[in-house]
């Protein structure tokens, strides 16, 4: 705008007229600029508002629950049976289900996703990388209900026949199958973000490593990977959040029986599976059984928030300024 004005000033005889109309245009562009800034601010605030709204609803709706159930019972009880005639309200069994399935999923997704990312970033020729990435990302476009039945009708039977050889009995509903399928589902999250992080590592670092006589694998593992660690950590954190929040796969294939166990061969319910079970059932609104899903949701929220904070702290700790 100021450039326009100075151009106009240089035009001599047409200065007055041009100056007037430019002033109006200048005013307009300032207003547009303000309008855009305000719009951007609104957009940014919207996501904050939604998050706060969620927290507010969770707290308000779980208040009646905590008026009825003590925090001690909620945190330290070993049974979760809010819908039984003799209700027990210990969140432990639901959290254990979430932890076990998430751990299995991460055990699959972190190594597999990292290996895929290293291959894509350090080995794959440009053309192949551009073909493989979208295909991989298609995996996350598959509806999770499909993955749920995949776990129930394909993976679990396969695991059963394998485990039967070493005389281990795997029930139809178990945490291992859905955990593995969940892991497969989040591989693209890990690989895509990790690959972006590794490709952002300056070529100069790789050259430094090659110049000392390192090969590709050494360079990838000992220079590129540590340099990209903060981005890779972000990928792991996101993958974990995704696994913790995953609902359909575990609701379908893990059984819906809350069990306090760390044994992946047992059936169990996760926090999210319980929520969807109650929300979709015929539990009367306003009952303690119904309010319990908000308490469970709140617990999940606190746990996820905690992990995200730890992840963020770790990322800051390992951030490298190359």
């Amino acid at each position: 705008m100021s450039q326009d004005a100075s151009n106009a000033a240089g035009r001599g005889s047409r200065l007055a007229r041009a100056d007037g109309s430019l002033g109006a245009r200048g005013l307009l562009s300032v207003m547009i600029e303000r309008g855009i800034e305000f719009g951007l601010l609104l957009a940014a605030l919207a996501s904050v508002a939604v998050t706060l709204g969620i927290v507010f609803v969770l707290v308000r709706e779980s208040a009646p629950f905590f008026a009825h159930v003590s925090l001690g019972e909620f945190l330290f009880g070993t049974e979760w049976t809010p819908l039984f005639s003799d209700p027990k309200y210990g969140i432990g069994p639901l959290l254990s289900g979430t932890f076990v399935t998430t751990t299995i999923a991460l055990c699959v997704a972190m190594p597999a996703g990292t290996i895929v990312a290293i291959w894509l970033s350090e080995y794959a020729p440009h053309r192949i990388r551009e073909m493989v990435k979208p295909v991989l990302e298609l995996i996350s476009a598959v509806p999770t209900v499909v993955f749920g039945y995949f776990a129930l009708t394909v993976v679990t039977p396969m695991l059963q026949s394998v485990l039967a050889r070493i005389n281990v009995d795997l029930p139809t509903f178990n945490m291992l199958g859905p955990g593995i399928v969940m892991g497969i589902m989040i591989v693209p999250y890990v690989s895509s973000l990790s690959e972006d992080a590794m490709r952002a590592v300056p070529m100069l670092l790789r050259e430094g490593s090659y110049a000392l006589g390192a090969g590709r694998l050494t360079t990838a593992l000992r220079v590129v990977f540590p340099a990209a660690l903060s981005g890779i950590g972000a990928a792991y954190t996101l993958a974990m959040s995704r696994a913790v929040g995953e609902t359909m796969i575990v609701a379908i294939a893990a059984g819906q029986k809350p069990t306090l166990t760390a044994n992946p061969l047992e059936s169990a319910a996760t926090v999210t599976a319980y929520i969807v079970q109650v929300a979709g059932g015929d539990v009367p609104h306003g009952s303690i059984g119904y309010q319990s899903i908000f308490a469970a949701g709140l617990a999940l929220f606190v746990v996820t928030l905690g992990f995200n904070l730890v992840g963020a702290a770790l990322r800051r700790r390992f951030r490298q300024a190359y």
Binding site: P202, R206, E207, A211, R222
Partner: protein, 287 residues
């Protein structure tokens, strides 16, 4: 950059072994007529795709001397330097033609049949910008040693210390070897990279405008270091700073548009060049 590193402001405590090495070094008169030859470049060309970036260059790199490559931007000096350790192999559509033979064994660096890893084991490189690895100071220097199979802790410790002393960095970092290399100032980082290059006992070190990202004090230190290193190791240095070439090198090669215009003793190039183009360049008429 100097902030947080008071040692930079003082005269550098240097280990005794480094001192006697250059002594009263009358730069060019000291050059023997028959200095042995470290590398022989013959009819060498390099291509990016169809573009010939280095054109039929032939030159002789003398052992334990500093050879400077100068010339205006885009003249191919850095491209030529990077052929000496085949850095171009990392990028597609690049091609070498001709020979760069490393003596005394005479093996041709740019022959595609030569394994670049094997060849890079003998030639180190220091880059335009300091590029320490995301590792501790110690592990940065130990990196090349570990690649060469050195794993004994005491041997690593000894050789890392020796390299850091060689790069005039030991006194500044000896109490914080476990700290990340990134924590150092820019000049210290570059000396860390020199230590990393020295640790593996290379036959030749390639310097690619090693001071272009540094302040004058850090630059002076690096130049002093280059001066100390010759006599032990053959140095090839690219610089766009003619004073730097004049200060640190024994021989200077002037390149223009991919061709080697003239190569001679540094004093000859700067005082009495035989080509008009060289004279125009060193007197600042272009570039």
């Amino acid at each position: 950059m100097v902030i947080g590193s008071p040692a930079l402001m003082h005269a550098q405590p240097r280990d005794a072994s480094a001192d006697h090495r250059h002594g009263p070094d009358a730069p060019d008169a000291a050059m023997p007529a028959q200095a042995s030859i470290k590398a022989q470049v013959k009819d060498f060309s390099f291509y990016y795709g169809q573009f010939q970036a280095v054109k039929n260059v032939s030159m002789t790199i003398r052992e334990h001397k500093v050879t400077a490559l100068i010339g205006p931007s885009g003249c191919g000096k850095t491209t030529l330097l990077r052929c000496f350790n085949r850095m171009h192999d990392l990028y597609p559509n690049t091609r070498y033609a001709g020979e760069i033979r490393l003596l005394p064994d005479g093996f041709n660096i740019v022959d595609r049949r030569v394994n670049p890893i094997e060849m890079r084991m003998r030639i180190s490189m220091v880059f335009q910008k300091p590029n320490p690895f995301p590792k501790s100071i110690f592990e940065n220097v130990a990196y090349g040693l570990r690649l060469r199979g050195v794993s004994s802790r005491s041997e690593l410790a000894g050789r890392v210390e020796h390299a850091l002393r060689g790069a005039a960095l030991w006194e500044e970092v000896k109490d914080r070897l476990k700290k990340p290399g990134f924590d150092l100032s820019g000049g210290q980082q570059q000396r860390l990279c020199i230590a990393r290059a020295l640790a593996v006992d290379p036959e030749m070190i390639l310097f690619d405008e090693p001071t272009s990202a540094l302040d004058p004090i850090a630059t002076a230190k690096i130049e002093e270091l280059v001066h100390e290193l010759k006599g032990r190791v053959t140095i090839l240095i690219v610089t766009h700073n003619m004073q730097q070439a004049a200060r640190v090198s024994d021989e200077t090669a002037f390149m223009y548009l991919g061709e080697l215009i003239e190569m001679d003793r540094t004093s000859k190039i700067f005082q009495n060049p035989s080509k008009q183009l060289t004279e125009q360049y060193i007197t600042g008429h272009f570039g």
